[in-house]
Subunit: 381 residues, 2 copies
C-alpha cells in the first residue's frame, strides 16, 4: 500500500502568547485539511502528538479535544514519545492506513511551552529522560556529555558546532513560520552564553509554541504529489549510562536502516533532510548516524558548506529546531510538512526526516519522494 | 488477519507504596511475556498506556523506559486518551499487527496514583475533561450530572445505583488482584458519604496503583486460545455541554457498532463483559449503550440480578473499576487480560470489554472469543 501526503498545515512558531494550545491545534489542522482540498467530514481518524500539555497546563485527552471539532467525531488518540511524539504519531497513523482500517487521517502535533517559566519548562522536558536514573539532569546537560565525547573521540571543534547553528539560522530566513529570522556569525555562536559546557545558548533549540499537521491518505489522486516511501522507528536505552556508544545514537541507526531498506535507497540518494538538531551536536550525530557522513566527519563537512545549498545535501532547510523553533509535539510533523512543501515546489525530489526523543532513546525516520521521481525510479528498475 | 491474545500479566491493584511505576510496568510485562511462553527477544514492538505519569511524577517517554529493558530495543510508543488509554494502546497495537509491520507485540498499561494526595490526583484526572470549557469540574461532578439526567429521564433510583456497587464488590472477591475484597449492602452504599449528589463514596471507583499487560500476536499456534474478533473506537465531544444526549454515551454506541459488526455478533451473544464503571451510573449507561438493555432498564435489571452469575450476562466479573480498582492506564488492558483468563478457564466463550475516557469522549470496545467457540461459529455459518 502507498501512503501519500495529501495536505500540510503549519502555524507560526514562536512565543505565541495570544494563542492557546487548542488554537494552535485547530489552526494547523484546518490548514492541512484545506490544503488537501478536503472537508472535515473526510477525516476518518485523528492522531495527536503532544508531550507535555498534561503538565504545562493540565490538559490531557487531546485526541478527544481535536475530535470534538468534527461533527462526525472521528476516532482519535494522543501519542507521546517526548520530542519524537510527532514522528511516532505519524508511525501510528501510517500503521492504521496500512492495516486498511482508514484511508484518510489527520496527524497533528502541538506544544505550548512559553506560558511557563524557562525553569518550569526545563523540568517538564526533563521528563523525557529517566527521572530516577538521571535525576536532576537537564537536556542541555545530557547533550553536553554527548558533545564532549564526540570532541574527545573525533576532535570535533567549537567552530564546527557553531557552523551548524550559523547554517540553520541562515536557512531559517527562508521559512516564514520560523521562530527566528536572524543570522549569526561563527564567532557570535562560539561566544554566546555558556549553558552546559561545551554547549552555549546558540547551540540550543529554543522553547516554542507552535503546531503542525499533515493529512495522510492511501487514496491516489492527481493531487497526491508526495509519497512516503520509507519509514523506520528505532530505540535505544533511555539513560545515557546504558548506551553502547556515546558518539552515536543507536536509535537513529536502527530507524534509518528500516527506512532506507523500505525505500530501496541509500544516503547518497537524499537531497535534503530535516534532522533533529535540538542541540548543534545532535545534528552532527544525526548526519553521521543517518549515513550522510562518516563518524567524526560531519563537523568539518558542515564547516565546509557540504550541508547547505550547493553542497552534498541540504540539511534543515527550514532552519531546523534551532532557528525554526521546537514546539515538541509539532516538530516531527513539521519536518514532514516543510519538506513536502519543498518537494511540491520541485526544489528536491527525495528527502528525509529524522525526529528524536530524549537524549536519543527514540528515533523516527521518514523518506519522502515526489511522485514524479518515484515513477522515474520505478521505470529505471 | 486474526489477532490472538498470547499472554496476560496483572499486578495487584491497590495502594502499592513499595512499588514504583517502573516496577509495576515491569512486573506486568514480564508476567505477560512469561505467560505467552515467549522471551523478551520475541517482542517486536511495545505500546505503553498511561495517562498521568508526566504530572504524577514527571516521567514521560514511557515507551523508551519499557523498551530499555529489552536488549534488542524494540520500537515503543506511549498512547494516551485519559482513562481509555489502555483500550487505545490495544487499538494502535492491533493496527500495527494488521498492517503486517509486526507479528508479536506487548501492550502494557500502568498508573501510579497514590503517591500524591487525593486532591492532587483529582486535579490530574480533571485533565481528562476540557479544562477551559469545564474549568474546575471534577469527574465525580461530571458523572453526577449524567446520573441526575438518567434519574430524571428514566426514574433510575438510588437503590439501582447501589446495586451496581454491591454486585461489583461481590465479584471482586473472585479476583485475587482486586484492590478491595469486601462486600457491601445496598444500604451501606446508599448511605455512604456524599461526594457529588447523587453520587456517594461507594458509587466511585478508587485511586489505584497497578499495571496490566497483554502479548498480542498474529501468529496462530496451539497455545493461542483467545481471539480478538471485533473492535471499535468511538468518540463524542469532550464537553458534556456539546453532547446530543446526556442519558447515553455516543462514543460507546459508535465503538460497539463497529465491534459487533466486525464480530458478526449481537449483544445477546455476549456472556460476560468488563465495562467501564468508573461510577455506578457509568455501568448503567454502558449496559444500555452497548445494547444489553433498553434505555432506562439497566438499573432495574442490575437490581434483579440480571448482570451477575445466573442472569442475562455477567458484568464486571473482575469487580470492575469499583472493586478491582482503576489504575487509569492499566484499566483497558486489565479488562482484556482478566476476561482472557476466564475464557481460558472456559467460564465463558464470548465476552466484551468496554473502556471509556473522560466523561465519555472516548470509548473502545473489544469482543473476544475462545478459539473453540470461533471454530464452532464458523462451522455453523
Amino acid at each position: 500500500m502507498k501512503i501519500f501526503i495529501a495536505g500540510i498545515g503549519l502555524t507560526d512558531f514562536g512565543e505565541l502568547w495570544d494563542k492557546s494550545l487548542e488554537d494552535l491545534l485547530r489552526q494547523a489542522s484546518a490548514a492541512a485539511i484545506e490544503d488537501a482540498q478536503l472537508d472535515f467530514s473526510d477525516i476518518e481518524a485523528i492522531y495527536v502528538a503532544n508531550m507535555g500539555a498534561g503538565t504545562f497546563e493540565g490538559q490531557m485527552h487531546l485526541g478527544a479535544l481535536v475530535s470534538s471539532w468534527f461533527a462526525h467525531h472521528p476516532p482519535a488518540m494522543r501519542i507521546e514519545g517526548a520530542c519524537a511524539s510527532g514522528g511516532l504519531a505519524l508511525m501510528a497513523a501510517e500503521d492504521a492506513l496500512e492495516s486498511g482500517r482508514y484511508q484518510t487521517v489527520l496527524v497533528v502535533g502541538a506544544e505550548k511551552m512559553t506560558d511557563v517559566s524557562a525553569a518550569e519548562a526545563t523540568q517538564v522536558l526533563a521528563g523525557a529522560a529517566d527521572i530516577q536514573a538521571e535525576y536532576g539532569s537537564t537536556f542541555p546537560g545530557l547533550y553536553a556529555l554527548l558533545a564532549l565525547q564526540h570532541m574527545e573521540a573525533y576532535g570535533t571543534t567549537r567552530e564546527q558546532l557553531s557552523a551548524v547553528s550559523v547554517k540553520n539560522h541562515k536557512h531559517g530566513l527562508d521559512n516564514r513560520h520560523a521562530q527566528y529570522h536572524k543570522e549569526f556569525t561563527l564567532d557570535q555562536v562560539s561566544k554566546s552564553e555558556l549553558v552546559a559546557a561545551p554547549l552555549r545558548l546558540l547551540d540550543c533549540s529554543p522553547l516554542t509554541d507552535g503546531a503542525a499537521a499533515v493529512v495522510l491518505t492511501s487514496k491516489k489522486t492527481a493531487r497526491q504529489t508526495v509519497e512516503v516511501i520509507g519509514r523506520g522507528h528505532g530505540m535505544d536505552s533511555l539513560t545515557l549510562a546504558q548506551r553502547e556508544s556515546l558518539t552515536s545514537i543507536g536509535a537513529t541507526k536502527r530507524a534509518a536502516k528500516q527506512a532506507f531498506a523500505q525505500a530501496g535507497l541509500k544516503p547518497t540518494d537524499i537531497q535534503a533532510a530535516e534532522v533533529h538538531d535540538c542541540f548543534t551536536i545532535a545534528e552532527l550525530l544525526a548526519l553521521e548516524d543517518l549515513g550522510f557522513f562518516k563518524p567524526g566527519e560531519a563537523g568539518q563537512a558542515t564547516l565546509e558548506g557540504k550541508t547547505t545549498y550547493g553542497g552534498q545535501l541540504v540539511v534543515n532547510p527550514s532552519g531546523g529546531l534551532k532557528a525554526s523553533g521546537h514546539p515538541v509535539g509539532a516538530t516531527g510533523i513539521k519536518q514532514v510538512a516543510y519538506l513536502t512543501k519543498l518537494l511540491r515546489e520541485e526544489k528536491f525530489s527525495t528527502v528525509l526526516t529524522h525526529n528524536v526523543g530524549g537524549s536519543g532513546a527514540t528515533a523516527v525516520v521518514h523518506i519522502l519522494q515526489s511522485v514524479e521521481a518515484t515513477k522515474k525510479k520505478r521505470k529505471s528498475l
